[in-house]
Symmetry: C2
Subunit: 183 residues, 2 copies
């Protein structure tokens, strides 16, 4: 039987700090949101970015940008704290991030993409999440360093973009590197 | 450089089937949604339930129930395919599920709750996800078989309920059991 829910902010913060020291890798994480349509999803992504300690969001093409009333509904205020940059051109954004040392991994059902638990995520990682309907465009995918996919058991052909980003980001952050990949 | 995005429904289905055979455990998964406020979240949960091949959703207390226009927006139609049951009483639902052989794990920051990657999830699993603001009530938590928590690095005190449910469900489904726990 589990203990009671922790209510004290201090106790919760202390727990997260202890566990971060024990489990989470030291990483620089960013998310590139390629042509997202839905500002509620963008807001949800700011909340996930806060949770995983991400450095920034990169909003490309027509992805809605704060300030935006619908982004604010789901961001829980984190759009005011997590830095973001916006680019009209997806390709320009990808090129810029690569120059800055980011390793770009698309979350996409791409040919030969490994299972998301089988990727050796490097320390400076940008996850590329495509449009809600059309996914990551092939010209963007071709500029990425890799791609991973998330298995699905049902009839649906995709997960919500925020859910997919969170699953992969948590896996990258909370899984120890395989022995041979450690520095 | 990754290959192109798979567009053919057949190719995508074949990929998921191959990976399911290789990675996913054979499980019976359910989700109990305790007093959720937001029908958009309920819809999102139907979509996640489809993705992980869940057997059913259990909607308790004032959790909105299909048919409901806002549930339909985010469920992508899966509310019509994934079975659900609703209970006025959370405790009655939990008692019923235990009689049916479900092992109930609350996703909650509870005292002594292990990291979500450190739980030996059994084959018949119901994840209990609490209200968006108040989490899993202590009287419900005390009836669960266990609880797990998800680390957070930022200023936010919680993840979105659908995101949290998806992270834990994917971990339970896509991680091989530790040697000693296998049958």
């Amino acid at each position: 039987m589990p203990g009671k829910t922790l209510r004290s902010k201090t106790a919760i913060r202390r727990l997260h700090e202890r566990v971060s020291a024990e489990f989470g890798r030291e990483m620089t994480i960013a998310f590139l949101l390629q042509d997202w349509d839905d500002p509620y999803n963008v807001g949800g992504m700011f909340r996930v970015a806060d949770a995983v300690g991400a450095k920034e969001l990169i909003l490309t093409g027509h992805t809605p940008v704060p300030p935006h009333p619908q982004i604010h509904v789901t961001s829980m205020g984190h759009h005011r704290r997590i830095p973001f940059r916006s680019f009209d051109s997806h390709e320009e954004a990808v090129a810029r991030l690569k120059l800055e040392g980011y390793h770009l991994v698309a979350v996409e059902i791409a040919e030969d993409a490994p299972h998301y638990k089988q990727y050796a995520y490097p320390e400076k990682l940008c996850l590329v999440i495509g449009n809600e309907v059309n996914g990551v465009y092939n010209r963007v995918l071709s500029m990425c360093d890799g791609a991973v996919f998330i298995p699905m058991a049902g009839k649906g052909k995709s997960l919500n973009v925020v859910v997919a980003a969170a699953i992969v980001a948590y896996e990258a952050w909370q899984s120890p590197l395989p022995e041979e990949a450690q520095g």
